[in-house]
């Protein structure tokens, strides 16, 4: 693992390069983290996935978006357009450092939606792996609000008394109105254009929104595969986040695609 800061000095982003082990592949992989509390929960899984991919000969890069983790910026400064640009910068950094010709993107939850946006906006990608993707921003926000309600039942603290757009906080992270509006505008199953690359959807359980996305992609005629990877253990979101089977599936998919 080689940690680095990249980007400009005023806007430096923190990244970690996992160099390819053994025979290097011509395709590198950029991992696109989720946001907010899902970032905290999945950091370990991303490190593990990066290690698995590196052992298969991929140069792998994972990084913190602006306003998250060790990157510059305040937590309330996060915006979708900024983070999409960060993915492009991360892909350029990986190519500059390693000389890989092409880059595949793996995104989890919001990271998956950001990866699609980056590819739609011109980032050439060898493959897109959408891992438990946010398909529709509104549904994602509702799901996190439900988790917040659950947290309130586990503790002595009151339920949030004001709606998200007023309190501008979600599961303990600043969530400004502008970011909420960005998220609400996301709907992968309604995108008029889709990146001309192979897309894989990896999920632990079927969901109506995944079906919608599949139907949308089938209409485009672009190569698409939906992989159902049953969760291990007791189920629930947290176990899916750490599912070793999902990591193995993603590694296998990228090996086949590269």
């Amino acid at each position: 693992m080689t940690p680095c800061f990249f980007g400009t000095s005023e806007r430096q982003l923190f990244g970690i390069h996992h160099p390819a082990q053994g025979a290097e592949r011509a395709t590198g992989v950029v991992l696109c983290y989720p946001a907010a509390q899902e970032y905290m929960l999945t950091h370990w899984a991303f490190r593990k996935l990066a290690g698995m991919l590196a052992r298969e000969g991929f140069h792998v890069f994972r990084f913190d978006y602006y306003g998250t983790g060790d990157s510059a910026g305040e937590a309330h400064e996060g915006r979708v357009a900024t983070w999409v640009q960060d993915i492009r910068n991360a892909a350029n950094e990986l190519q500059d450092v390693t000389g890989v010709q092409r880059v595949a993107l793996v995104g989890f939850r919001l990271g998956a939606a950001l990866a699609v946006r980056a590819a739609v906006e011109g980032l050439s990608t060898a493959a897109l792996v959408l891992w438990e993707p946010l398909v529709q921003g509104e549904a994602w926000l509702q799901e996190l609000e439900l988790l917040q309600a659950r947290r309130a039942t586990r503790t002595l603290f009151p339920q949030p008394e004001s709606p998200l757009e007023v309190r501008e906080e979600l599961l303990g992270f600043p969530f400004p109105r502008a970011l909420r509006d960005d998220i609400l505008a996301l709907d992968l199953a309604a995108l008029p254009a889709w990146p001309s690359t192979r897309t894989h959807l990896v999920a632990g359980a079927p969901r109506p929104e995944y079906q919608r996305l599949q139907e949308h992609l089938e209409r485009t005629g672009l190569p698409f595969q939906h992989h159902l990877v049953p969760e291990e253990g007791a189920g629930g979101q947290e176990s899916a986040l750490l599912s070793n089977r999902s990591l193995q599936t993603i590694t296998t998919l990228l090996k086949e695609a590269a």
Partner: protein, 279 residues
């Protein structure tokens, strides 16, 4: 402020971020603050707590190193070093001090630990005379008579009953998941040993800060308990102390986090006289 990546320690396996103030703003003789993991959270800290603390401290002229213990976060596991996690954490925390001393000329240090991070912070503070300050957040607690009295009074709390009834209305899957998450245990030193340790630290002139939250409700439930459980030391007025009964263990509510950051920054800078504050 400037942030740089550093690698150090046994086998150069440890990764950290060094946050330094602008040279013109450096606070002379201020200790360098060292932070590491909170449970399995990486060096960023839960809810980015350590990043925000490091940047606030830099604004006050203080250098901070936040790093991952080996095998956690972005630090590689060590090939050598044995299987005793606690021993490794102590060695690696001391390695962080060595790095800052050798590379940055720092001679005085303050350690801040939260939850399991208190264990190594406490041990290194006791062992290493370079440590001049230590803050323990949700550290060691011992039940007292006052605790037991209040434990039973909780059944009179309307808030607790509201929470209980709300929980019954949840879908079964969410309810069970929430209950499973409440399982949590830690091993504490004997109270007599801890009393001796704190006594020795105060005789050495180490500045101590203790913070407890409502998240410790199963073992800590009122403001006076801290002084009661260590009563032979007569700590009142001699250490910095805060009890935030409405805050949870990881300070997940932004306002609680902001208050904790204010408290820790003020303590580190040394502008707040030791006194008990309510949350």
């Amino acid at each position: 402020m400037r942030e740089r990546i550093c690698t150090f320690g046994p086998e150069q396996s440890l990764v950290g971020i060094l946050t330094e103030p602008d040279p013109a703003k450096v606070l002379p003789d201020a200790p360098a603050v060292v932070l590491s993991n909170v449970g399995l959270n990486h060096h960023v800290g839960p809810y980015r707590l350590w990043v925000e603390l490091a940047r606030q401290l830099a604004g006050r002229g203080i250098t901070t190193l936040r790093f991952d213990l080996s095998g956690l976060g972005d630090s590689r596991p060590r090939r050598e070093g044995g299987s005793d996690e606690f021993q490794r954490a102590r060695e690696e925390t001391r390695a962080a001090l060595d790095y800052l001393e050798q590379k940055k000329g720092q001679k005085r240090f303050a350690l801040i630990g939260l939850c399991s991070g208190v264990d190594s912070a406490h041990a290194v503070t006791v062992e290493d005379p370079r440590v001049v300050g230590a803050a323990f957040i949700d550290g060691y607690t011992y039940r007292t008579l006052g605790y037991h009295l209040r434990f039973h009074l909780r059944y009179l709390s309307p808030r607790r009953w509201t929470r209980f009834l709300r929980k019954r209305k949840l879908p079964a899957q969410l309810r069970e998941a929430g209950e499973a998450d409440e399982v949590y245990t830690r091993e504490y030193p004997e109270r007599s040993q801890l009393t001796q340790d704190y006594k020795a630290l105060m005789e050495r002139g180490v500045s101590l800060c203790f913070v407890f939250t409502g998240g410790m409700g199963l073992s800590f439930n009122h403001e006076r308990q801290f002084y009661e459980m260590l009563s032979p030391l007569k700590l009142e007025g001699r250490v910095t102390y805060a009890f935030y009964p409405r805050a949870d263990h990881l300070f997940s509510v932004p306002e609680d986090r902001a208050e904790l950051l204010r408290k820790l920054t003020a303590w580190t800078v040394g502008t707040v006289p030791p006194r008990a504050l309510t949350g």
